[in-house]
């Protein structure tokens, strides 16, 4: 790991992403992202905001290495992800990223414990069951580890998903509309959990269109038409340094 006290987790420079799309029967190129420069340091809690079509889903996919940029450089936790194969990207995701999805995406018919164990299984971790148990206890589900998703409430399912995202000790926790499918009170619980993760020093990026969710973050990045419209984060010293 990097030696600086607040190393950069995300370093994006000149990121561009274009999709081919069909419009009125003609194929047109859609500039989903059009020159993104973004640096996120360890311990930051960043909300990515923007109307639909602003490119925030694309940015989320690139941040999580689910997709690769057409142009520009992206270093995640010091690793340049440009030109990596699908399998190398899978290993990067496993190692550095914890995903929290809007629809939770838990495996049905599988216990909470097995769901949380899954990312550790893909890295062949021998100690995975103990780690998964600890992660579930950390999100307050220690008593429900043998429950299946259909035996859990929406908020509990999202907490299982968060435990699954945390169990690998990722450099970056990436949440996509984490409260989108929850009622206000349950959403508040989840946001409280995020606050605690932030307080514990986790690096969080939450993609949302909900201003009240974004208010909880310590930095808001607004996208419009594939560009960063505003960023209220303070430029931090050492931003230009390449970590490593």
């Amino acid at each position: 790991m990097v030696a600086a006290p607040r190393p950069a987790i995300v370093e994006m420079r000149g990121i561009e992403k274009t999709y081919g799309a069909e419009r009125a029967g003609e194929s047109v190129a859609v500039h989903a992202l059009d020159g993104i420069d973004l640096t996120i340091h360890e311990g930051e809690y960043v909300a990515v905001l923007g109307p639909s079509g602003s490119g925030k889903s694309t940015l989320m996919n690139l941040l999580g290495c689910l997709d690769v940029a057409d142009e520009g450089r992206y270093r995640l936790a010091g690793t340049d992800v440009a030109g990596l194969s699908d399998d190398a990207l899978a290993r990067i995701r496993n190692r550095f990223v914890g995903f929290v999805f809007q629809q939770w995406n838990l495996l049905a018919r599988t216990t909470a414990l097995a769901n949380v164990t899954l990312p550790l299984a893909y890295r062949g971790d021998r100690d995975r069951e103990a780690k998964a148990r600890a992660a579930l206890e950390a999100v307050g589900l220690g008593a429900r580890i043998r429950h299946r998703p259909n035996q859990l409430s929406g908020g509990e399912q999202q907490r299982v998903a968060i435990a699954r995202a945390l169990v690998t000790e990722p450099a970056l926790v990436l949440a996509d509309e984490p409260t989108g499918n929850l009622d206000t009170a349950t959403g508040e619980e989840i946001l409280g959990l995020f606050d605690r993760l932030h307080a514990a020093g986790r690096t969080l990026v939450v993609v949302t269109h909900d201003a009240s969710v974004a208010e909880r973050a310590n930095r808001r990045v607004r996208l419009r038409d594939g560009r960063i419209e505003s960023d209220d984060g303070l430029p931090l010293p050492g931003r230009a340094d390449a970590a490593g």
């Binding site: 690793t79 399998d87 062949g124």
Partner: protein, 426 residues
């Protein structure tokens, strides 16, 4: 930093657990999919073991005929067991047999005997059984190295007189008279169907009973037999002079080629057939018959095995179909697994293991069913199904291979899904 150091492929135990879980989640579908492979493997096992059982019967029957015997059958080149048992060609005469049996004609021959025969029904009191009748000469007992166990065999004077006497096979004697000893001196009525229609009944006196030879190969019971003098059979039973087979026994195995050549020369001369022309008779040794029979049974086994193999392919296509459905249904799951760090190999292995699990369990059940079918066939028919461990090993290997081959395409499709597209799938 090296991102590979801590990340390896998913351990096999997890992959297996995942596969079992996925199959258990849809038990009916998994069972029906297995059924295809089960039936395929069962039919391969059953068919091959029946084929091998039939082959063994033919071989042991032929072995029972004796090793140093040359068989002459009427008709040209159609070697086979059916003719040895009494074909319809009439080109061999009793004079051919006499010529061959004449001492000195064939120096290395010990004895020669003609045979003609057919199926008859033999009746004593209220008991009637169908049995093979053979008309022959006293040499029969010598050539076939088959003595009587009670009474005596037919004699030259029986032959000259066309006497109404019979020597019974051990089972026939027991079937008709209750025991071997009780048969001697008793009368048996033999009914022979005539070519022109109708039938005639001949009353024969039992003069002897052959030693028990056993139920050779479980198929051809040598002990169900009525032996009569050839003259009796020719004139009073079958009404034809021609003989179905002439057997000449050689002094030793080494003398077989010479005896065979001599028999051929004598018969060519008698029938006026020059060297190089196609003869109207066939000379064979036990080896020839065995070779022909095993070729026939090999072809039978291959054909039966192939028909089972086709069911296996159909079963494999069923596996592929279901696996493709499963990949489509679980697109989101695949996307999630990829997001969490599954490599293409992890995903491919997961689906391959599922397919191979299906076919392996299908195959094991198929082996059980195939064995049961073999036992049932052994119990219901004279054929004793022969299940070779090789056939079982091959069946297991094929099951696994079917899973691999037909699972590979669906598994590769799953492995190549892009995570964002898969995660967005409904």
């Amino acid at each position: 930093m090296d991102c590979r150091s801590q990340v390896g492929p998913m351990p096999l135990a997890d992959t297996l657990r995942t596969a079992f879980g996925a199959l258990a989640a849809n038990k009916l579908r998994a069972s029906l999919t297995m059924l295809g492979v089960l039936i395929g493997v069962a039919s391969v096992i059953a068919m091959v073991s029946i084929g091998q059982g039939a082959a063994r019967i033919v071989e042991s029957t032929l072995e029972g005929l004796g090793t140093n015997v040359v068989f002459v059958t009427p008709g040209g080149r159609t070697p086979g067991f059916a003719q040895a048992a009494g074909g319809s060609a009439t080109s061999l005469s009793i004079d051919d047999a006499r010529a061959l049996a004449q001492p000195g004609t064939i120096p290395d021959a010990v004895a020669g005997e003609p045979e003609q025969g057919g199926f008859v029904s033999a009746a004593v009191g209220g008991t009637t059984i169908n049995v093979r009748a053979v008309g022959t000469t006293p040499a029969y007992s010598i050539v076939r190295d088959w003595p009587v166990t009670a009474g005596r065999f037919i004699s030259e004077s029986d032959l000259v007189a066309a006497a109404s006497v019979a020597v019974l096979g051990a089972d026939t004697a027991a079937d008709l008279f209750g025991s071997i000893d009780a048969a001697i001196g008793r009368a048996v009525n033999v009914r022979v169907a005539q070519a022109a229609g109708g039938s005639i009944v001949v009353r024969l006196r039992v003069i002897g009973v052959m030693e028990a030879r056993g139920n050779v190969g479980g198929f051809f019971n040598l002990d169900q037999l009525v032996v009569v003098p050839l003259s009796t059979s020719q004139r009073r039973m079958f009404g034809r002079d021609s003989v179905g087979a002439i057997l000449v026994s050689a002094a030793s195995a080494d003398a077989m080629p010479q005896v065979r050549r001599d028999v051929e020369t004598v018969l060519r001369r008698r029938h006026g057939i020059a060297e190089g022309e196609a003869p109207d008779f066939t000379v064979q040794t036990q080896q020839d018959l065995l070779a022909a029979a095993s070729l026939t049974s090999d072809i039978l086994t291959i054909l039966l095995g192939a028909s089972g193999g086709i069911s296996l392919i159909v079963g494999g296509i069923g596996i592929m179909n279901i696996m493709l459905v499963s990949v489509t249904e679980r697109t989101r799951e695949i996307g999630l697994r990829k997001a969490l760090g599954a490599t293409r190999r992890d995903i491919r292995n997961q689906f391959l293991v599922e397919a191979v699990t299906l076919t392996t369990f299908g195959g094991l059940a198929g082996i059980a069913l195939g064995l049961a079918a073999g036992l049932a066939i052994s119990a219901a028919t004279p054929i004793i199904a022969v299940v070779s461990p090789t056939a079982i090993l091959i069946a297991v290997g094929i099951s696994v291979a079917v899973g691999m081959i037909f699972g590979l395409y669906p598994a590769s499709r799953a492995a190549n899904l892009q995570p964002i597209a898969a995660l967005r799938a409904e």
